[in-house]
């Protein structure tokens, strides 16, 4: 009996020695911050010494109310939902299609495609954000290509209207057509549009035709600046594109890894028995992957709601807060301007709760409609 007791004690000591360090760190880094977050969200603490400084009090749910009464909160929440949607209905299906193509050996070199499509996942989010920021920027390559094309077209149209070197057509209708090329605002540049513009063109010596065309283009062509990062209704599109670009490969990897667990003999014999690809997909692959899909959807939801760095680097929530998401809204409340820690914590907890709710909904959905897999 004493021997058994000694063994029990040794087991107990070993158990706690092995598990306690991890548990203490877990408490310090996760459990305690949650508790702190709850307390702070109900308080009026606004920076400074937490203990021994200015006294702070519990004030109740005021900050939650402030959050849900702030239109920017709903804007951020809406953007988070866009991200959830593009993740669940963009990344997942695309990743699945890629995985299927590779898994069924419809294309050669499976490792090659898989290797390429996963690359964005491995790169620092900050690098990805800043890279795409410069691609989309008004002085970036997209704007340049578009402007080069439109400049060329403008040149050709100008030449077609006013004719080639030495034979300028400066009739009223031609000048009128040039003005029309410049868009609705062009006539406003002149006091008397037609004579003024004609005078301007005539002022160029005949050997300066190239300069004339270039100057006219610069004067009249509306330079295109990428408005997609500035327009409120579409500013999120580039952000969503980058998110799709970055993470689709991740789901390709997940789906492919789980497809490869399917017994190939089952598929082979189904094919021999006359099943076509569609039937293989419907009756073998999809059922085998339903668990993976639910897990991927949960990953996508929780990743979407906690994402921070990509938008922080890509748009910083701008222009004028349009692309803000909840984590950026939280960060700015806490660290920009006055330290509104209670509001920031209320937002954090709302985010956590929404994330948990969506995960539960996904789980319930799975147990009701899925559940063919093991």
């Amino acid at each position: 009996m004493t021997g058994a007791k000694r063994i029990d004690r040794e087991a107990g000591r070993a158990y706690w020695f092995m598990s306690l360090p991890a548990f203490v760190i877990y408490i310090v880094v996760m459990a305690f911050p949650i508790g702190l977050s709850i307390v702070l969200s109900l308080s009026d603490y606004s920076g400074g010494k937490m203990f021994g400084g200015e006294a702070w009090h519990i004030v109740g749910f005021d900050h939650y109310l402030r959050a849900i009464q702030d239109p920017w909160f709903w804007n951020a929440l809406k953007n988070n939902f866009y991200i959830v949607l593009i993740s669940v209905f963009g990344q997942l299906p695309l990743g699945f299609i890629f995985a299927y193509i590779i898994y069924r050996r419809i294309v050669k070199w499976p490792g090659f495609w898989q290797g390429i499509l996963y690359v964005p996942n491995i790169i620092s989010i900050i690098v990805v954000g800043l890279l795409w920021q410069s691609i989309f920027s008004p002085s970036g390559p997209i704007a340049q290509v578009v402007n080069d094309l439109s400049t060329n077209r403008f040149h050709q149209q100008l030449v077609a209207i006013i004719g080639s070197q030495g034979h300028l057509n400066l009739s009223d209708s031609a000048i009128q057509a040039v003005l029309k090329l410049g868009g609705p605002d062009a006539p406003n540049m002149f006091a008397n549009p037609i004579p003024d513009l004609r005078g301007m063109i005539q002022a160029y010596p005949s050997n300066q035709y190239g300069v004339l065309i270039t100057d006219l283009t610069n004067l009249l062509l509306q330079k295109w600046t990428p408005t997609f990062l500035n327009k409120p209704n579409i500013a999120m599109l580039p952000v969503l594109f980058v998110i799709l670009w970055m993470y689709t490969g991740m789901y390709l990897i997940l789906f492919l890894a789980n497809m490869q667990k399917i017994d190939t003999q089952v598929i082979e014999s189904a094919r021999i028995d006359g099943a076509n690809e569609g039937q293989v997909m419907r009756h073998i692959i999809l059922p085998a992957l339903s668990g993976t899909m639910v897990n991927s959807a949960i990953l996508a939801i929780s990743g979407s709601l906690s994402s921070f760095a990509l938008i922080f680097a890509l748009t910083g929530g701008g222009p004028s807060r349009i692309t803000e998401i909840l984590s950026i809204y939280m960060y700015n409340s806490a660290f920009l301007g006055q330290h509104d820690f209670p509001l920031a914590n209320a937002i954090a907890l709302i985010t956590v709760i929404i994330s948990m709710l969506l995960i539960v909904v996904t789980k319930v959905f799975e147990s009701r409609y899925g559940g063919k897999e093991d």
Binding site: Y26, F98, N121, L130, G140, Q144, L305
Partner: protein
């Protein structure tokens, strides 16, 4: 009807079309994935002036100064060692603590397991990004703001839930008979851990290493609120410095971004198989 579709001429045509479509899809998306990165690397060799007139072509004049300027301005000489310390420290910490606790949870019977292990499982669902504000306040109250200790502590904490889950499930699959016969031979749990469990846990430790190396090296949101001194910053924080005011100095900015992506790309090229395996094993939620 038992005839296979491909054996008919129409079926062959359809299969051929499907194949062509599949190749088209893969090629288009592969180019869309890789070209921006190639574009970035290529432009890091152009002067800012050349970039403004030649955004899409190869550099006419290859400028290597960009890298030196970016390296100096970003103080990467300080940041690289920091990134290595954080990544190595957090990875080793997570592996050691996860395998230890995993062994305890999986093989040493205790009534506490339900609660301890359960709390780590709940932690998988939480993402530390949501807790950055209370973490910031906590490290300030504890007086460990701007310390490597705080960064390592938070990174280890962030890696533990999934680490412990994977380690526990892995060690559960090791036959208990191995542990029991060692016990009968008089071996203590520490000895069993050291001699039996640890050597057998190399695969799960590899998975954890992959997950934590890629995660920690690229991490930004948390370290951003944990340190402000350059001496303590990691690579992603240094790269972020190149946004904003420097975003018009393209040569330098692109060089900085290229420096930032190179180490992970090399790591990926060297360990692609292990990385994809590790990531798919670690992608567990709920």
């Amino acid at each position: 009807m038992s005839e296979r579709l491909e054996t008919t001429a129409l079926g062959r045509l359809g299969a051929g079309f499907a194949k062509a479509l599949a190749y088209a899809v893969m090629v288009i998306f592969a180019i869309m994935t890789i070209y921006p990165l190639f574009w970035l690397a290529m432009n890091s060799f152009k002067s800012t002036r050349e970039f403004q007139v030649n955004m899409l072509g190869l550099p006419h004049v290859w400028v290597f100064d960009n890298f030196k300027m970016a390296w100096d301005f970003g103080e990467f000489g300080k940041l690289f060692p920091n990134s290595i310390i954080y990544t190595a420290g957090a990875t080793l910490g997570v592996i050691a603590l996860s395998v230890l606790a995993g062994f305890a949870f999986a093989k040493i019977p205790s009534r506490a397991t339900k609660w301890l292990y359960g709390s780590f499982i709940v932690g998988i669902l939480l993402t530390l990004n949501s807790l950055m504000i209370p973490l910031f306040i906590e490290v300030n109250v504890l007086g460990i703001y701007n310390t490597r200790f705080a960064v390592l502590l938070v990174y280890i904490g962030a890696g533990l839930p999934i680490g412990i889950y994977l380690a526990t499930e892995y060690i559960k699959a090791i036959p208990t008979a191995l542990v029991e016969s060692a016990r009968i031979d008089g071996a203590g749990y520490f000895r069993i851990f050291w001699r039996i469990i640890l050597p057998m846990s190399v695969p799960v430790a590899t998975t954890l290493a992959i997950l934590n190396i890629t995660g920690t090296w690229n991490e930004f949101a948390l370290i951003n609120i944990l340190v402000s001194k350059t001496e303590l910053k990691s690579l992603p924080l240094g790269i972020y410095k190149f946004s904003g005011s420097l975003s018009t100095d393209y040569g330098k900015q692109f060089a900085a971004l290229t420096i930032g992506m190179a180490p992970m790309l090399l790591f990926y090229v060297a360990f692609r198989k292990q990385i994809t395996k590790g990531v798919s094993a670690g992608a567990v939620k709920g």
